[in-house]
Protein backbone atom coordinates (compact mmCIF):
# COMPACT_ATOMS: atom_id res chain seq x y z
CA UNK A 1 0.00 0.00 0.00
CA UNK A 2 1.49 3.35 -1.07
CA UNK A 3 1.43 6.48 1.05
CA UNK A 4 0.82 10.01 -0.32
CA UNK A 5 4.50 10.64 -0.96
CA UNK A 6 4.81 7.46 -2.95
CA UNK A 7 1.70 8.40 -4.91
CA UNK A 8 3.39 11.71 -5.73
CA UNK A 9 6.38 9.75 -6.98
CA UNK A 10 4.08 7.71 -9.18
CA UNK A 11 2.62 10.95 -10.60
CA UNK A 12 6.08 12.32 -11.25
CA UNK A 13 7.21 9.11 -12.97
CA UNK A 14 4.35 8.48 -15.30
CA UNK A 15 5.33 6.96 -18.59
CA UNK A 16 6.01 9.36 -21.46
CA UNK A 17 5.62 8.80 -25.18
CA UNK A 18 8.57 9.14 -27.52
CA UNK A 19 8.26 11.28 -30.68
CA UNK A 20 5.42 10.45 -33.04
CA UNK A 21 7.82 9.03 -35.65
CA UNK A 22 9.79 6.86 -33.21
CA UNK A 23 8.09 3.66 -34.26
CA UNK A 24 8.67 4.29 -37.95
CA UNK A 25 12.35 5.06 -37.29
CA UNK A 26 12.80 1.82 -35.37
CA UNK A 27 11.11 -0.19 -38.10
CA UNK A 28 13.24 1.51 -40.75
CA UNK A 29 16.39 0.71 -38.78
CA UNK A 30 15.27 -2.91 -38.36
CA UNK A 31 14.60 -3.11 -42.07
CA UNK A 32 18.13 -1.85 -42.80
CA UNK A 33 19.48 -4.50 -40.40
CA UNK A 34 17.69 -7.13 -42.42
CA UNK A 35 19.24 -5.92 -45.67
CA UNK A 36 22.80 -5.65 -44.34
CA UNK A 37 24.08 -9.03 -45.60
CA UNK A 38 23.21 -8.07 -49.20
CA UNK A 39 25.42 -4.97 -49.29
CA UNK A 40 28.54 -6.99 -50.02
CA UNK A 41 26.94 -8.03 -53.32
CA UNK A 42 27.45 -4.48 -54.64
CA UNK A 43 31.21 -5.11 -54.71
CA UNK A 44 30.62 -7.75 -57.34
CA UNK A 45 28.52 -5.51 -59.60
CA UNK A 46 29.64 -5.05 -63.17
CA UNK A 47 31.40 -1.70 -63.86
CA UNK A 48 28.49 0.03 -65.62
CA UNK A 49 26.17 -0.71 -62.74
CA UNK A 50 28.57 0.70 -60.20
CA UNK A 51 28.01 4.23 -61.55
CA UNK A 52 24.28 3.79 -61.16
CA UNK A 53 24.89 2.47 -57.68
CA UNK A 54 27.13 5.48 -56.88
CA UNK A 55 24.44 7.88 -58.13
CA UNK A 56 21.80 6.10 -56.11
CA UNK A 57 24.07 6.31 -53.06
CA UNK A 58 24.49 10.08 -53.58
CA UNK A 59 20.75 10.52 -53.76
CA UNK A 60 20.39 8.48 -50.61
CA UNK A 61 22.99 10.68 -48.88
CA UNK A 62 21.13 13.83 -49.92
CA UNK A 63 17.93 12.30 -48.59
CA UNK A 64 19.73 11.47 -45.33
CA UNK A 65 20.94 15.08 -44.95
CA UNK A 66 17.46 16.43 -45.64
CA UNK A 67 16.05 13.91 -43.21
CA UNK A 68 18.62 14.94 -40.58
CA UNK A 69 17.52 18.54 -40.97
CA UNK A 70 13.90 17.48 -40.58
CA UNK A 71 14.83 15.49 -37.50
CA UNK A 72 16.59 18.50 -35.98
CA UNK A 73 13.66 20.76 -36.76
CA UNK A 74 11.30 18.27 -35.26
CA UNK A 75 13.48 18.01 -32.16
CA UNK A 76 13.47 21.81 -31.84
CA UNK A 77 9.71 21.93 -32.35
CA UNK A 78 9.04 19.18 -29.82
CA UNK A 79 11.33 20.92 -27.35
CA UNK A 80 9.45 24.21 -27.89
CA UNK A 81 6.17 22.39 -27.38
CA UNK A 82 7.49 20.92 -24.12
CA UNK A 83 8.51 24.37 -22.86
CA UNK A 84 5.12 25.79 -23.79
CA UNK A 85 3.37 23.01 -21.93
CA UNK A 86 5.54 23.60 -18.86
CA UNK A 87 4.90 27.36 -18.95
CA UNK A 88 1.14 26.94 -19.21
CA UNK A 89 1.07 24.35 -16.45
CA UNK A 90 3.08 26.52 -14.08
CA UNK A 91 0.82 29.50 -14.91
CA UNK A 92 -2.36 27.57 -14.31
CA UNK A 93 -1.07 25.87 -11.17
CA UNK A 94 -0.21 29.24 -9.66
CA UNK A 95 -3.56 30.74 -10.69
CA UNK A 96 -5.39 27.78 -9.22
CA UNK A 97 -3.52 28.14 -5.94
CA UNK A 98 -4.38 31.86 -5.82
CA UNK A 99 -8.00 31.11 -6.60
CA UNK A 100 -8.12 28.53 -3.79
CA UNK A 101 -6.63 31.07 -1.37
CA UNK A 102 -9.20 33.69 -2.40
CA UNK A 103 -12.03 31.20 -1.98
CA UNK A 104 -10.70 30.12 1.42
CA UNK A 105 -10.57 33.77 2.49
CA UNK A 106 -14.19 34.29 1.38
CA UNK A 107 -15.34 31.28 3.39
CA UNK A 108 -13.76 32.74 6.51
CA UNK A 109 -15.81 35.96 6.11
Amino acid sequence: MMDDFEKQLKDAFQRQDPSADFESRVLAAASREKQKPRRWLALWMPGHLRWAAALAMSLVLVAVVVRQREVHERAAGEAAKARLELALKITSTKLKKIQDQVNAGRQDE
Binding site: L88, T93, L95, I98, V102
Partner: protein, 178 residues
Amino acid sequence: MKNSILIACFAMLPLAAQELKLPPNIEKLAAKAEEVVDVTMDGALLQLAARFLSDKDPDEARVKKLVAGLKGIYVKSFEFENKGEYQDSDLEPLRAQLHSPGWSRIVGVRSKKSGDNAEVYLKSENGGFSGLAIISAEPRELTIVQIIGPLQPEDLRDLGGRWGIPKIDLGRKPGKED
Protein backbone atom coordinates in the same frame (compact mmCIF):
# COMPACT_ATOMS: atom_id res chain seq x y z
CA MET B 1 24.51 23.07 -1.89
CA LYS B 2 24.17 21.95 -5.41
CA ASN B 3 22.83 24.60 -7.78
CA SER B 4 21.06 23.13 -10.70
CA ILE B 5 20.25 25.75 -13.28
CA LEU B 6 18.01 24.93 -16.21
CA ILE B 7 18.12 27.48 -18.95
CA ALA B 8 15.93 27.41 -22.06
CA CYS B 9 18.54 26.85 -24.78
CA PHE B 10 17.11 28.90 -27.58
CA ALA B 11 20.05 31.24 -27.92
CA MET B 12 19.80 31.31 -31.72
CA LEU B 13 16.59 33.32 -31.50
CA PRO B 14 16.63 37.09 -30.90
CA LEU B 15 16.31 38.18 -27.28
CA ALA B 16 12.66 38.16 -26.25
CA ALA B 17 10.88 41.51 -26.08
CA GLN B 18 9.52 41.06 -22.60
CA GLU B 19 7.09 43.76 -21.58
CA LEU B 20 8.24 43.67 -17.97
CA LYS B 21 11.95 43.74 -17.19
CA LEU B 22 13.01 41.68 -14.23
CA PRO B 23 15.00 43.83 -11.79
CA PRO B 24 18.71 42.93 -11.44
CA ASN B 25 18.15 41.75 -7.83
CA ILE B 26 15.70 39.17 -9.10
CA GLU B 27 17.95 37.98 -11.93
CA LYS B 28 20.77 37.50 -9.42
CA LEU B 29 18.64 35.06 -7.43
CA ALA B 30 19.60 32.35 -9.91
CA ALA B 31 22.97 32.09 -8.19
CA LYS B 32 21.33 31.45 -4.80
CA ALA B 33 18.54 29.17 -6.03
CA GLU B 34 18.66 25.42 -5.70
CA GLU B 35 16.65 25.10 -8.87
CA VAL B 36 15.67 27.60 -11.53
CA VAL B 37 13.02 27.17 -14.19
CA ASP B 38 13.40 29.68 -16.98
CA VAL B 39 10.99 29.53 -19.89
CA THR B 40 11.44 32.30 -22.43
CA MET B 41 9.24 32.04 -25.50
CA ASP B 42 8.85 34.95 -27.87
CA GLY B 43 6.37 35.06 -30.74
CA ALA B 44 8.58 33.09 -33.15
CA LEU B 45 9.18 30.29 -30.66
CA LEU B 46 5.50 30.15 -29.76
CA GLN B 47 4.66 29.75 -33.43
CA LEU B 48 7.25 26.98 -33.75
CA ALA B 49 5.69 25.17 -30.79
CA ALA B 50 2.20 25.73 -32.21
CA ARG B 51 3.21 24.03 -35.48
CA PHE B 52 3.75 20.85 -33.51
CA LEU B 53 0.38 21.04 -31.78
CA SER B 54 -2.17 18.77 -33.34
CA ASP B 55 -5.41 20.18 -34.73
CA LYS B 56 -6.94 16.75 -34.29
CA ASP B 57 -6.28 16.51 -30.54
CA PRO B 58 -8.94 18.74 -28.87
CA ASP B 59 -6.62 19.67 -25.99
CA GLU B 60 -3.75 20.64 -28.26
CA ALA B 61 -6.12 22.47 -30.61
CA ARG B 62 -7.29 24.68 -27.72
CA VAL B 63 -3.73 25.46 -26.72
CA LYS B 64 -2.94 26.25 -30.35
CA LYS B 65 -5.86 28.69 -30.40
CA LEU B 66 -4.71 30.31 -27.15
CA VAL B 67 -1.17 30.72 -28.37
CA ALA B 68 -2.07 31.91 -31.89
CA GLY B 69 -1.88 35.66 -31.29
CA LEU B 70 0.46 35.73 -28.31
CA LYS B 71 3.70 37.68 -28.47
CA GLY B 72 5.45 36.00 -25.61
CA ILE B 73 5.28 33.74 -22.57
CA TYR B 74 7.93 34.18 -19.88
CA VAL B 75 8.16 32.14 -16.72
CA LYS B 76 10.88 32.45 -14.13
CA SER B 77 10.74 30.31 -11.03
CA PHE B 78 13.37 30.09 -8.30
CA GLU B 79 13.38 27.47 -5.60
CA PHE B 80 15.57 28.03 -2.55
CA GLU B 81 16.84 25.69 0.10
CA ASN B 82 16.34 28.28 2.87
CA LYS B 83 13.89 31.06 3.65
CA GLY B 84 14.96 34.66 3.39
CA GLU B 85 17.00 34.38 0.18
CA TYR B 86 15.06 37.31 -1.28
CA GLN B 87 13.16 40.29 0.14
CA ASP B 88 9.73 41.54 -0.75
CA SER B 89 11.39 44.88 -1.54
CA ASP B 90 13.30 43.14 -4.37
CA LEU B 91 9.96 42.90 -6.16
CA GLU B 92 9.11 46.61 -5.88
CA PRO B 93 10.76 47.62 -9.19
CA LEU B 94 8.68 44.94 -10.90
CA ARG B 95 5.51 46.08 -9.16
CA ALA B 96 6.29 49.65 -10.23
CA GLN B 97 6.17 48.54 -13.86
CA LEU B 98 2.80 46.95 -13.18
CA HIS B 99 1.48 50.31 -12.02
CA SER B 100 1.99 51.75 -15.51
CA PRO B 101 -1.07 52.62 -17.64
CA GLY B 102 -3.15 49.69 -18.74
CA TRP B 103 -2.08 47.31 -15.99
CA SER B 104 -4.50 46.57 -13.12
CA ARG B 105 -4.03 44.35 -10.14
CA ILE B 106 -7.06 42.10 -10.10
CA VAL B 107 -6.10 39.77 -7.26
CA GLY B 108 -3.83 40.15 -4.25
CA VAL B 109 -3.59 37.46 -1.60
CA ARG B 110 -1.30 37.54 1.41
CA SER B 111 -1.04 34.95 4.14
CA LYS B 112 0.81 35.91 7.32
CA LYS B 113 0.67 32.31 8.48
CA SER B 114 2.39 30.73 5.50
CA GLY B 115 4.25 33.82 4.32
CA ASP B 116 2.80 33.38 0.83
CA ASN B 117 2.05 36.48 -1.18
CA ALA B 118 0.46 36.32 -4.62
CA GLU B 119 -0.70 38.93 -7.11
CA VAL B 120 -2.34 38.74 -10.51
CA TYR B 121 -2.33 41.65 -12.95
CA LEU B 122 -4.11 42.06 -16.26
CA LYS B 123 -3.31 44.59 -18.94
CA SER B 124 -6.25 45.96 -20.87
CA GLU B 125 -6.05 47.51 -24.33
CA ASN B 126 -8.71 48.44 -26.87
CA GLY B 127 -11.49 46.83 -24.91
CA GLY B 128 -9.71 43.52 -24.42
CA PHE B 129 -6.80 42.09 -22.49
CA SER B 130 -3.26 42.21 -23.82
CA GLY B 131 -1.24 40.85 -20.94
CA LEU B 132 -1.21 38.79 -17.78
CA ALA B 133 1.34 38.90 -15.00
CA ILE B 134 1.56 36.76 -11.88
CA ILE B 135 3.91 37.26 -8.95
CA SER B 136 3.85 34.28 -6.61
CA ALA B 137 6.15 34.85 -3.66
CA GLU B 138 6.56 32.06 -1.11
CA PRO B 139 9.22 31.74 1.58
CA ARG B 140 11.21 29.20 -0.46
CA GLU B 141 9.92 29.81 -3.97
CA LEU B 142 9.46 32.83 -6.20
CA THR B 143 7.64 32.54 -9.51
CA ILE B 144 7.03 35.33 -11.99
CA VAL B 145 4.89 34.76 -15.06
CA GLN B 146 4.25 37.11 -17.98
CA ILE B 147 1.97 36.38 -20.89
CA ILE B 148 1.98 39.10 -23.53
CA GLY B 149 -0.54 39.33 -26.35
CA PRO B 150 -4.28 39.25 -26.89
CA LEU B 151 -5.72 37.07 -24.19
CA GLN B 152 -9.10 36.25 -22.79
CA PRO B 153 -9.32 34.97 -19.22
CA GLU B 154 -11.78 32.35 -20.45
CA ASP B 155 -9.04 31.01 -22.77
CA LEU B 156 -7.01 30.09 -19.69
CA ARG B 157 -10.10 28.86 -17.92
CA ASP B 158 -11.02 26.68 -20.91
CA LEU B 159 -7.67 24.95 -20.67
CA GLY B 160 -8.54 23.75 -17.19
CA GLY B 161 -8.75 19.99 -16.84
CA ARG B 162 -7.10 19.44 -20.22
CA TRP B 163 -3.52 18.64 -21.12
CA GLY B 164 -2.85 18.15 -17.41
CA ILE B 165 -3.67 21.79 -16.54
CA PRO B 166 -5.65 22.49 -13.32
CA LYS B 167 -9.08 24.14 -13.67
CA ILE B 168 -9.10 27.84 -12.83
CA ASP B 169 -11.56 30.72 -12.84
CA LEU B 170 -10.29 34.07 -13.96
CA GLY B 171 -13.45 35.92 -14.98
CA ARG B 172 -12.64 39.31 -13.46
CA LYS B 173 -12.73 42.77 -14.99
CA PRO B 174 -9.72 45.06 -14.63
CA GLY B 175 -9.72 47.47 -11.71
CA LYS B 176 -11.49 45.21 -9.21
CA GLU B 177 -9.39 43.93 -6.37
CA ASP B 178 -10.03 41.43 -3.64
